[in-house]
């Protein structure tokens, strides 16, 4: 098991290396740089801008910049953000946690919805319950998330005013207090719920199909032949097997949420990684852009690893030595 994990980490190294080169080259290929924004400021002195560029090494060929960057990056130093004037890791840290919390809460909501609905729909397939749930999941499938989120924001954030309409925490509460935690959660609910209500639909469908597939399996018949009551046939046999692929997707799901937070964070002005990424792209804050992409890439790799570990933990047939 540990060997397996270690090996996977070793395999990640070349992947990350390749990723970093691609990311770096792409970042450099974007027109303009962090100082371009100053070029429409008539008071800025072009010669001075050139001097700063030279100082920051922005005029060097990309591979020199890359080597410089990479040698620092392996030591955990992703450089200084030009727009934020502070080490990239500091900039990312707060945002990262916000995004991770958002992803986690979204995940919880997603499963809270998907599991009961998927079970109902799979167990009583082709009944009106199933049809309702399936109908919902089809509509979710066809609804662009941002429209839905905007509507949620306007209904619950403004019209009903149940939830805050932006930010990650109320500025009046103090860190470390209970009120702070409550406020954080309060800010998470609306974006998380909006994502979950849409994102859950695929999980529901998946679970439903799994259950329908599993309930005609031979071992279920065996269980029935033992006289296991129907409810236990479900809880002990069908559901456990149906959850397998979903559990295995957990890792991917988390990273998917982190990588895909861009839209929801933009709509809910939620200061997370996605939003930071977008603004860093438009401000050409390369150090931040590369760091975020590298981190999400790494997270994805971790997610796949996590998925594999979870799968091997829940499925005895897949054993990781």
């Amino acid at each position: 098991m540990w060997k397996f994990i270690l090996r996977r980490f070793l395999v990640m190294i070349p992947q990350l290396f390749l990723l970093s080169i691609i990311v770096f080259m792409m970042a450099k290929a974007m027109p303009g740089d962090a100082l371009s924004g100053q070029e429409i400021n008539p008071r800025a002195n072009p010669a001075e801008l050139e001097r700063i560029r030279e100082d920051l090494g922005l005029n060097d060929p990309w591979y020199q910049q890359y080597i410089r960057w990479a040698s620092n990056a392996v030591q955990g130093d992703f450089g200084i953000s030009y727009t934020h004037k502070t080490p990239v890791m500091d900039v990312i840290e707060d945002r990262l946690w916000n995004t991770v919390f958002l992803a986690l809460v979204t995940l919880i909501f997603t499963y809270m919805l998907a599991i009961p609905l998927g079970i109902l729909s799979g167990r009583y397939n082709d009944t009106w319950v199933d049809k309702t749930v399936t109908g919902y999941s089809y509509i979710g499938f066809g609804t662009p998330i941002f429209i839905f989120a905007l509507i949620m924001l306007f209904v619950f954030g403004f019209a009903l005013d149940w939830f805050p309409s932006g930010g990650s925490v109320d500025s009046k509460v103090d860190e470390g207090t209970f009120a702070y935690v409550v406020s954080k959660i309060n800010h998470l609910i609306l974006p998380a719920l909006s994502t979950a209500l849409i994102a859950t639909t695929s999980t529901i469908q998946y679970l439903r199909n799994e259950i329908i597939d599993n309930k005609i399996k031979d071992f279920v018949r065996t269980a029935r032949s033992k006289g296991v009551p129907e409810s236990n046939v479900y809880s002990r046999h069908i559901l456990r097997n149906s959850f397998l692929p979903i559990a295995a997707f957990l890792g991917y799901e988390i990273t998917g949420l982190i990588g895909g937070a861009v839209i929801i964070e933009t709509i809910f002005s939620y200061p997370g990684l996605g939003q930071l990424f977008l603004s860093s792209v438009s401000l050409r804050d390369f150090s931040v852009v590369t760091a975020i992409v590298m981190m999400t890439g790494f997270a994805t790799l971790l997610g796949t690893l996590l998925s594999d570990i979870i799968l091997s933990a829940v499925d005895p047939r897949i054993r990781i030595e």
Binding site: F158, S165, V169
Partner: protein
């Protein structure tokens, strides 16, 4: 993330003169609420931005405008400006200019103290210069005017440890310039750094230090109490403020997304927030909010590409003959209807520009009229210039009978950008000019300026905007050597007038006004660019707020602002 200096402006002086297009009465600039501010009042300021603020809370270092909006609550410049944006002696310091116009002396008032109780001294301002000129300084605020201070260039080059042209004596500080420049009365850097507080941090580390980012100390009306990084700031009144205790007890600043700013105003979640054109109609309809407006220090224009920038000689070279004929340029100016663009697209928040100096400046030449929409005249000019449709495809060929295609580059951003661009193209096509959008799409900000800066040959004409500084001198954008002169237009007369505008004689205001009037006439006649639109900026203020003045610098004079009732 640009033009920090565009905010300073004034419109008053236009009153007496011809203001037929510029109706400043379109919007009030002050809150109408005359009520007595309540004690312990609290105000929520909406910082309208689609990204969090970066949190570099110092004018020397900050980069994006959101940070600047935060700074103005707790810090300020030493010199105030009048409606003509010229320095006055009403602020935290007074100033004097020597007879030879080369020396400026600032005297900081006695009651001006940092929020930790320490007095603000000349050494603090000197320290700001020492930081700005230092080679460890990575910001962009070291400008040409600073370089005019004696000894500054030496210091900047690392050849000197101090700046010989700056002398400090307690609360007094003197700047000596190598040559007299009228811009000194408008453009001098007067923002001090708390030397005692900050000097133990190396200059290279200042911008990332907690002293700037988390616990900034200013001498403005409010103290920073708490910062939620990027999202919100809690301020409390600074009782020792030099103009007297502020009328509010506390202020919350929080970032609101542009798309929900109006909604938040309506809800009363925030009291003050700027309003963009696309939400103007919605904001106007709110009855708990009044809308203040002013003319912005910026203009939009359509530029023609005349050549390229020669980096080695640091000079613009006019070597592209495509738009040589000024009748062609004039025709293109006549062909577009900016009146309608301002009215319809921008809901009256923009109006045709007559010049490249904004109308809230006294230097704006009111006698110059915008090119009015006149397609017939445009066609006539084109016919005269030889651009006629020889192959009857509905589009004009150039005088040699060859196809004449014009690539139009335009920048993305905001909903209106694309239809506006299309609209211009349509109108040019109506007079027979084959104008196409470059690459078929709008270009994102960075890409766009990359195209301009590198004089991409594909670009024939482009639409852009300049925010203008409080200093009226247009050399930075128009001179033969200016790298920002993206049209690469050079003209001897232009060079001569620009030099006159910052000569010693220009300390005489009327001389300067006359010079710039003449310059504007030149630009109008030559049309190296077509100035298209001036703009209003508007802000929504809850009706419970009193004492808020949206004009110019006073937009940020928060000490005077109060609320007359509790928030709902």
């Amino acid at each position: 993330a640009c033009s920090n200096d565009t905010e300073k402006s004034s419109t008053k002086e236009k009153k007496g003169k011809d203001v037929e297009q510029v109706d400043t009465s379109l919007f009030p600039t002050k809150t109408t609420n005359q009520g007595e501010p309540i004690d312990g009042g609290h105000l929520t300021y909406g910082l309208v931005s689609d990204t969090p603020f970066e949190g570099i809370l110092n004018k020397v270092f900050y980069q994006g405008d959101p940070d600047n909006q935060v700074i103005t609550f707790f810090d300020e410049d030493l010199l105030d400006t009048d409606e003509n944006y010229v320095f006055t002696n009403d602020g935290a310091a007074s100033y004097e200019i020597s007879d030879d116009n080369k020396t400026v002396t600032l005297t900081i008032k006695d009651n001006v103290n940092w929020q930790d109780g320490k007095p603000v001294t000349g050494a603090d301002l000197e320290y700001a210069y020492l930081v700005l000129g230092s080679k460890d300084y990575k910001g962009v605020r070291y400008d040409e005017q600073m370089a005019l201070i004696e000894g500054m260039e030496e210091y900047h080059a690392g050849k000197a440890d101090s700046i010989s042209g700056i002398k400090v004596d307690g609360k007094k500080i003197t700047f000596t310039f190598k040559k007299a420049n009228p811009s000194v009365t408008t453009g001098l850097w007067t923002y001090p750094l708390h030397k005692e507080y900050l000097s133990d941090v190396p200059i290279a580390k200042l911008e990332s230090s907690d002293k700037i980012r988390k616990n900034p100390i200013g001498y403005g009306p409010f103290k920073v109490k708490k910062i939620v990084q990027g999202e919100a700031v809690e301020f409390e009144a600074f009782e020792g403020y030099h103009r007297g205790a502020p009328k509010l007890d506390s202020v919350t600043l929080k970032v609101v997304n542009p798309s929900v700013a109006v909604k938040s105003l309506e809800n009363g979640d925030i009291d003050v927030a700027s309003i963009s054109a696309d939400q103007f109609d919605q904001a106007k309809a709110l009855d708990n909010v009044e809308i203040l407006g002013k003319v912005d220090l910026a203009y939009t224009y359509i530029g023609f590409k005349f050549g390229h920038y020669d980096e080695k000689k640091a000079e613009n070279v006019m070597d592209n003959p495509k738009f040589e004929d000024k009748r062609l340029r004039q025709a293109m100016a006549y062909a577009i209807n900016n009146e309608e663009v301002g009215e319809k697209m921008y809901k009256g928040l923009r109006f045709p520009a007559n010049s490249v100096i904004t109308p809230n400046f006294k230097y704006n030449n009111k006698d110059v009229k915008p090119y009015e929409y006149d397609p017939e005249k445009a066609k006539k000019l084109l016919d005269e210039a030889g651009y006629v449709d020889t192959n009857k495809d509905g589009l004009r060929e150039d005088p040699d009978g060859k196809e004449f295609k014009i690539n139009f580059a335009s920048m993305s951003g905001g909903d209106i950008a694309e239809p506006l661009t299309n609209y211009y193209i349509q109108q040019w096509q109506e007079v027979g000019l084959d104008v196409q959008m470059l690459d078929g799409r709008l270009h994102e900000f960075n890409s766009f300026y990359d195209l301009l800066k590198k004089d991409n040959e594909e670009v024939d004409i482009y639409q852009a905007a300049w925010g203008v500084a409080s200093d009226p001198d247009p050399s930075g954008l128009w001179s033969r050597s200016a790298a920002f002169n993206y049209t690469r237009w050079v003209n001897d007369k232009n060079d001569e007038l620009l030099a006159k505008g910052i000569s010693e004689e220009a300390f005489d205001d009327q001389y300067r006004i006359d010079t710039y009037n003449e310059w504007q006439e030149l630009i109008h006649e030559e049309v190296p660019i077509i100035p298209t639109l001036f703009r209003y900026t508007t802000t929504g203020v809850n009706k419970r707020v009193s004492g808020y003045d949206y004009l110019a610098e006073r937009q940020y004079k928060w000490f005077n602002v109060g609320v007359t009732e509790e928030a709902k």
